[in-house]
């Protein structure tokens, strides 16, 4: 921390110096006639400052991103080399361990059997009792898990034997650290590294404090220090070199302003490219994780898209991997559709009528307070709507349903989530429709009025048909809003993956499940966690398509009346 602050300060000073040097140099090159310079003296200053600061900062940024990983790799590589005797001893012990031999033999056989059975079941060339084979498959899988657990246990027994024999000297502890790191599964390894770094550099709190961790921390420190100093040195050297280089280029005819402005527009271009990078990032991260998910469910994508059974919690139980139906997302899609439908049934008529009233009937006084009121409705955070749905609308609807004699009424229902979401979307629909209605040329209205049409006839028969494409676009955007809305449904719609069309039951949606899967305890890389990304991909593709169509439609509409 201290080094980096020091380096940053020095860089700042150097950059300022660069600026001054540039100005000075330009003025002296001009022989006291600043007007003879190509650019204002300041631009020469900016030019040199840019060359001084930018490359060095770039280097530091690279170090900031990759430095820690590099340090870890080097330090733990060294530790593992120190642990080489232990590792050799461990492998030798394992190869002589009878239990271990037997178990790994069994595992190999089991794997073969399972693979064979799978291929047979999937190949379709299968004859005989499918169900019995499926049962056999899950029995085999369960057995394999048992064997794997046994193997792991045996291995850790052997390992602890080896560890116990290691002397408690600094060297021994280093070897232990390397051994532990080598043996750990990827997740445990990350935790181990994080703990070691925490101990070494006060980066947060370590979850444990063992001699091995201490040794690892001690091994990390010098490497880190070396890298930090060399990065700092390199950055400063780069800064000085940049300064010298830029200074040498300054002359009376040098076009400093063009260079500086070129740099500015490059930075601006970079800023706009970030928008693209975001999209690329979204697409790639969703695709990548989804592919891992589909791989985890053996590429049965059709079951994900068309299956009617959603129970990801059960699916992580090892003996159920491969069981069909646990990741069937149809109940989620249906729930999303149901709630969206209810929301649209509220938002479209109310929003549209509100827009019509505001743009065609309301006087300026009424508009002056009704419009801001609608805008407030749009500005209320969704979590507030969720709270309102959960505590006020939900219970009220349930009591009303009970009063009407519907006995299975629940607080968290599709209806309450949909209603409240509809209200949330009203201002969205109304402001978009308002724009669209106002874009309909006055001459069309005049034409209708001149025929003796009343206001409502004009609106219904001339304005609305003319505005229809724009309104359709607005509704599509609203649908995409509703589909992607999260908090209201998380709080008010419930979690049970019911496949139902009854709005008084609780249903779940794509977004609710994403939240459920990714909050609370989660293990990385499990199909359960990864499925959230597949759902995210579906959500993204769905809303993207809606948006593209909607934006197209609206644009066509605008072109027509421009």
């Amino acid at each position: 921390m201290q080094i980096s602050v020091l380096v940053a300060l020095t860089l700042l000073v150097l950059t300022a110096v660069g600026f001054l040097v540039g100005r000075r140099r330009a003025l002296s090159a001009a022989d006291g006639q600043p007007a003879s310079l190509h650019s204002l003296p300041d631009y020469y200053g900016y030019y040199i400052a840019l060359w001084t600061g930018a490359p060095a900062l770039f280097l530091l940024a690279i170090y900031g991103i990759f430095g820690a990983a590099l340090v870890n790799t080097l330090a733990f590589g060294q530790l593992e080399r120190d642990a080489a005797p232990l590792i050799r001893g461990y492998e030798a012990a394992l190869s002589q361990d009878a239990d271990h031999q037997i178990l790994s033999g069994r595992l190999d056989r089991l794997n073969d059997q399972i693979a064979g059975l799978r291929a047979e079941l999937q190949g379709g060339t299968h004859s005989g009792d499918v169900e019995a084979d499926v049962r056999r498959l899950s029995a085999l899988t369960a057995e394999r898990n048992q064997v794997q657990a046994g193997l792991a246990e045996r291995r850790s027994e052997v390992a602890s034997g080896i560890e116990a024999r290691t002397p408690d000297t600094p060297a021994g502890r280093r070897a232990l650290a390397g051994f532990e790191h080598w043996r750990a599964t990827p997740e445990r390894r990350e935790l181990f590294i994080a703990d070691a770094r925490a101990l070494a550099f006060d980066e947060g709190l370590a979850s444990r404090d063992t001699p091995a961790l201490r040794a690892a921390a001690a091994a990390l420190q010098p490497v880190e220090r070396l890298f930090q100093w060399s990065a700092a040195g390199a950055a400063l050297a780069l800064a000085v070199a940049g300064l010298a280089f830029a200074r040498s280029r300054v002359s009376r005819r040098f076009r400093a302003r063009d260079r500086v402005e070129g740099a500015i527009s490059a930075v601006l271009l970079l800023a706009s490219i970030i928008a693209i990078l975001t999209t690329v990032g979204i697409v790639f991260s969703l695709l990548f994780e989804s592919i891992r998910f589909f791989a985890a469910i053996d590429w049965r994508i059709h079951e994900f898209l068309f299956g009617t059974q959603w129970s990801p919690q059960i699916a992580i139980r090892a003996d159920q991997v491969g069981q069909s139906g646990a990741f069937g997302a149809v109940p989620l899609f249906a729930g999303t559709a149901l709630i969206t439908l209810i929301a649209m049934a509220v938002a479209v008529p109310v929003g549209l009528f509100a827009a019509i009233y505001l743009s065609e009937y309301a006087g300026p006084g009424f508009r002056a307070w009704a419009k801001p009121a609608l805008e407030i409705l749009a500005g209320v955070p969704t979590v507030v709507y969720g709270f309102f749905a959960l505590l006020t609308v939900g219970p009220a609807l349930r009591d009303f349903a009970l009063f009407l004699g519907y006995e299975d009424a629940v607080t968290q229902s599709a209806l309450s989530a949909g209603l409240v979401m509809g209200v949330m979307i009203i201002p969205f629909v109304s402001s978009l429709s308002d724009d669209v209605i106002n874009a309909v040329p006055q001459s069309l209205r005049d034409g209708a009025y001149a025929m003796g049409a009343t206001k409502s006839e004009t609106v219904r028969q001339v304005v609305l048909p003319a505005a229809l494409p724009g309104i359709v676009g607005a509704v599509l955007l609203a649908v995409s809003r509703a589909v992607g809305e999260t908090m209201i449904v998380v709080m008010a719609a419930g979690q049970g993956a019911n496949l139902t069309a009854n709005p008084l039951e609780s249903v779940t949606t794509i977004t609710v499940q994403i939240v459920m899967l990714l909050t609370g305890d989660q293990e990385f890389d499990s199909a359960k966690t990864l499925s959230a990304f597949a759902l995210g991909l579906v959500l993204f593709v769905m809303t993207l398509m809606l948006n593209i169509i909607a934006l197209r439609v609206v644009q066509r509409f605008r072109e027509r009346y421009d």
Partner: protein, 577 residues
Amino acid sequence: MTEARTIRDAVEARLARRHRAERRFQLYGLGAIVLAVAFLVLLIGSILYQSVPAFTAHEVTLEVELDPALVDPRGDGSEASLRRGSYNTVIQNALQAQFPDVDERSELRELFGLYSAVNAARLLNTVVDQPELVGARYAFSFPISDDADLYLKGRTVDERRAAGDGMLTIIPSEADVTLRADSPAFQPFADAIRAEAAAWADAAEARAAASWRSAQETIDADTREVLEAEAERAGALAERLRSRLAPDQALVLDAQAPSFLVEADGGVFRVRQISADRTSALAETVIAPAGTGAAERWTAWVLETPAAARLITDRQLVWVRALADRGLIENRFNTRLFTNADSREPELAGVMGALTGSILTVLVTMLLAVPIGVGAAIYLEEFAPKNRLTQIIEVNINNLAAVPSIVFGLLGLAVFINAFGLPRSAPLVGGMVLALMTLPTVIISSRAALKAVPPSIREAALGVGASKTQAVFHHVLPLAAPGILTGSIIGLAQALGETAPLLMIGMVAFIADPPSLGFSGFTEPATVMPVQIFIWSSSAERAFEARTAAAILVLLGLMILFNAVAIYLRRRFERRW
């Protein structure tokens, strides 16, 4: 002319109907707006109403005896020793001193349930700060438990008190007491209970009958079985209720029934059973009377809400009442709501932690989204050549603006946390995710502001020999600045209210300490206001309901502040070309 006449008649014939349709249509429009506004009023109104109890808190002030043996176990008055003291015992002793006759373990547990042990930590800090207090008596105030607080605010328990008829004799027997009146004084209460129970029995019978009927109509065997079991259960319940209701029998009060308390002679008794002739009752002592014997005046204290339907027991309720009557409980403005961070105990929970988190997060968002967004807008509006790349960027920004916020959360989880290894739950990552989400808003509004600057300004600058960059940065940007600022603030207000993407990156954790308001705070685990609202709203404790509503008000206040600044800027610098 005659033809014109008939046309006019035809027009006029339909006129009334058309005007009715016109009025109806207009009414629909007005109705839509009224509906939306009514909903807004209902939303704000219900939240205001629900938040009321959160703004005050009942605090108990007790004289605690800072016994050196308890608070200074090593006896040397050092800080280390003071920190090992058992301060909870100190508070417990003070509370027990108020009700000396409570001695049974389970009763004591109930008594100590009136406050949260976390309060002891505050007492500890007080003593560590002022070691001279050791051995002295000290008036210590602490918030009473949330359930007691809600009871005192009249939100959870329906109660009714009435003077009892005639004389009441208190006859102690073993553990309990018998209360004997000289008339059937317990009759009205017994009747009320019986009426209620009879209604329940009726309902249960009706349910049983309904279940039987549908069982008969069901073909599916499983469902039929379930229905029959249900019918049997309901029938049994009805029978049990009825059997208990025979008018000439003793009436046993259980947790499902309203509680009946009797205040007499300075004591409070909890009735367990009313005799068959309704003149006497078997009761347990909650607060011992001044003497035993006869009381001229006594009060029947009925708790309509059955014990099973509330989280505060009869005894706790009586104690709380007694403490209040003794002037030891005061209803004060709840400063903890604003100065504390989150806590599992509603009475100690506050929004400070989330507020800090929100500030840090929005700061990151602002530092990223505004410069990048404005830069992108300047590029697209002023510099970009009209080529494919520009077109792609534009389409892309428009689509990005409509991507659901939760997808940005997934991006943050996959890229910032899993790939880059940035810390979970940190304002830094939250701010980055929200910045990506806000970026399109900032870009779009900044472009609109830049577009509103008339081309003549640019031409004038270029005309006097400024470069394009100079024209933009010296002339166009300053003129567009108010619009850009307004749009950015509105975007940030949106980010301030956003929840879903932050859940993805783990900002939903329970955080008992606010992150430090410094540089390191950006990477410490934190939560933000909307997420705090979400967490509280899913808590089971009733008292969190009011606190959630209060937190919502705080959040809305913040957002109103943001928007007010935006509106002010717009009004102040608005320029029409």
